[in-house]
């Protein structure tokens, strides 16, 4: 049941990869996220070189996000104008991110940056989500009424130039904040191999105050574009995309994603968010731990100079 991966140059158990794709796809369908942050650590654990893992799973994110966007756009829940502006930023960020990643990899510091980004971003987002959803659950259990939230956007959002109307999101704001968010997500997508949905969704909800109904669909739309650009760049610049690996992953992934989306309606939203927050936090801690644990061998083979 082993298959030799032509770019990763290792042989792996293929049913295991399909299963992994399905499990991550299920989680991603359940929570409406790309799921890249779960996939990379497992692939690296299976012995796939980190650079190939990060680059190949981006196309898994493309597939699951595509099926997600089709579902959401059918419900009219995608703000394409907002998505396009964020995607333009995402493409710029991805170009910079791939170059940055290439440089760090040659410097031998790529794994440090990956670990730190996982620890910082996943740790912070996980804690926030967990805190926010747990207080909501507690409130619901005690039967209290949620305090009225201030629905005011930060004032600086209005001071910026290039205002654009986003009817679907119910916004009339400058194009700069969405563009900046997109750039940030693009850099993350190249370095961590993730779509960035776990950062974009809270930012769109709490900073931009977009209509909640269009947030997930729009973030998925921007993720498709960003990860597609990342995949092409990783393939063109670093030759680290393994099509056999990514196809195996996404075969399981698309099935899992659809299953997950169906199960999502059976759970309460705050419970789902608490579970996701916990998963995000645990992955972040796990990836960050290696910074503090004495390595089994203090010498490591660094990638690079493959082509002289």
């Amino acid at each position: 049941m082993e298959i030799y991966l032509p770019i990763a140059e290792v042989s792996v158990n293929w049913p295991l990869l399909i299963l992994l794709g399905a499990v991550v796809g299920f989680v991603s369908g359940l929570f409406g996220i790309g799921g890249g942050f779960l996939m990379a650590p497992v692939l690296i654990f299976l012995g796939i070189p980190p650079t190939v893992a990060v680059a190949s799973q981006a196309s898994h994110v493309v597939a699951s996000s595509t099926s997600g966007v089709i579902r959401y756009s059918g419900q009219g829940a995608v703000d394409f104008r907002m998505g396009a502006i964020m995607a333009a930023g995402g493409a710029v960020g991805a170009i910079g991110g791939v170059e940055l990643f290439r440089y760090l990899r040659l410097l031998g510091q790529a794994d440090l940056v990956v670990s730190v980004s996982y620890l910082v971003f996943l740790g912070a987002i996980g804690l926030l989500m967990l805190y926010e959803s747990l207080t909501e659950i507690l409130r619901r259990v005690r039967g209290e009424v949620a305090p009225h939230k201030e629905r005011r956007r930060p004032l600086w959002l209005y001071g910026l130039p290039w205002k654009v109307r986003f009817p679907k999101s119910g916004l009339y704001i400058s194009a700069i904040p969405p563009l900046g968010l997109g750039i940030f997500a693009g850099v993350l997508s190249a370095i961590m191999g993730v779509g960035g949905g776990f950062i974009l969704v809270p930012a769109m909800l709490y900073a931009l105050r977009m209509k909640a109904g269009v947030v997930v669909g729009t973030s998925l739309f921007q993720i498709i574009i960003t990860t597609a650009v990342t995949t092409v760049l990783q393939a063109g610049r670093n030759q680290t995309v393994d099509v056999v690996l990514s196809t195996l992953l996404l075969l399981g992934g698309v099935v899992g994603a659809q299953m997950g989306a169906r199960y999502a309606s059976r759970f309460k939203a705050d419970v789902l968010r608490a579970a996701l927050g916990l998963i995000v936090l645990l992955v972040g801690i796990q990836m960050g731990l290696e910074l503090f644990v004495r390595p089994s061998d203090i010498f490591l083979i660094a990638p690079g100079v493959a082509d002289g």
């Binding site: 030799y4 032509p6 770019i7 290792v10 595509t66 440090l112 995949t231 092409v232 099509v243 698309v254």
Partner: protein, 269 residues
């Protein structure tokens, strides 16, 4: 293990291209591989190749056979983790100009019994003696804007780095020492197995079959072995390297297409 820190390996002693060379009287060794070409396809999980050969020994003096298989040379970059303020960080990469991607020895007895230290070092036989290219003095090279330190073979930490390369490669089953890997199946007729792991690099491998008598090399037979990707694996690999941008676009289209199909087929409610 070696007691004293071994001096750096001698400069290259090019293996003679002739197939069988007799150096002492009529004492000769001849060898062949069951398979001179290893094909890497999707079912590749490593390969085991049998090397067999014969020793022509007119006298009754005992002889030893040592098989050395070397994979293609490639530069190796290493980093060392150091602890700063409780956090493990990577050092600046250190570069060896060339180390074999695969290296194994198999012999009738432990190598240290077969020949003396100096002899093994001169021939580059054994992982402790294998040649890892390093210049006389350390310098820095800059590639793609990254400064690498090229390790010098006279530097004091050369041995630590060198041992690390060997240790890491041994852990990956790419470097191997088998002190009784050569077995005599009959008088004068021997066999040895070459185990290639799935991570073995592709390219041309050189096998040397040394015949030792009284600790002196008495003959050598040179063989070559090719490990290459074939079929679908090679097509994908070459496509990804020759037309990387087209390959990337196709990967994305494939992914988006599968996502679209899945939502059409499975997304009905």
């Amino acid at each position: 293990m070696i007691q004293a820190p071994p001096p750096p390996p001698a400069p290259i002693l090019a293996p003679a291209p002739e197939r069988s060379v007799g150096t002492v009287g009529d004492l000769r060794v001849a060898a062949a591989l069951t398979n001179a070409r290893v094909e890497v396809d999707s079912s590749f999980r490593g390969a085991s190749i049998v090397l067999y050969g014969a020793v022509f020994n007119p006298t009754d003096d005992p002889t030893d056979v040592v098989v050395v298989v070397r994979g293609p040379d490639a530069p190796v970059r290493l980093v060392k983790k150091t602890r700063n303020l409780g956090v493990w960080l990577n050092s600046r990469p250190v570069l060896f100009e060339g180390a074999p991607g695969f290296y194994m020895t198999a012999s009738t007895r432990p190598l240290s019994d077969v020949a003396g230290f100096g002899q093994l070092r001169r021939l580059g036989v054994g992982v402790d003696h294998l040649r890892i290219d390093a210049p006389e003095e350390s310098r820095t090279v800059t590639r793609y804007g990254v400064r690498d330190v090229v390790i010098s073979r006279l530097g004091e930490d050369y041995l630590d780095w060198r041992r690390a390369v060997i240790r890491l490669r041994e852990a990956a089953a790419l470097y191997n020492t088998d002190p009784d890997g050569v077995t005599f199946v009959d008088r004068g007729l021997f066999r040895a197995e070459v185990e290639l792991p799935a991570t073995a690099p592709t390219g041309e491998y050189h096998a040397e079959v040394w015949l030792f008598r009284d600790g002196e090399p008495a003959g050598v037979s040179n063989l070559t072995l090719r490990v290459e990707k074939v079929g679908f694996e090679r097509d994908v690999y070459e496509f990804a390297h020759r037309r990387p941008w087209t390959y990337g676009v196709l990967c994305v289209l494939l992914a988006a297409g599968i996502g679209y199909l899945a939502s059409r087929v499975l997304g009905r409610r």
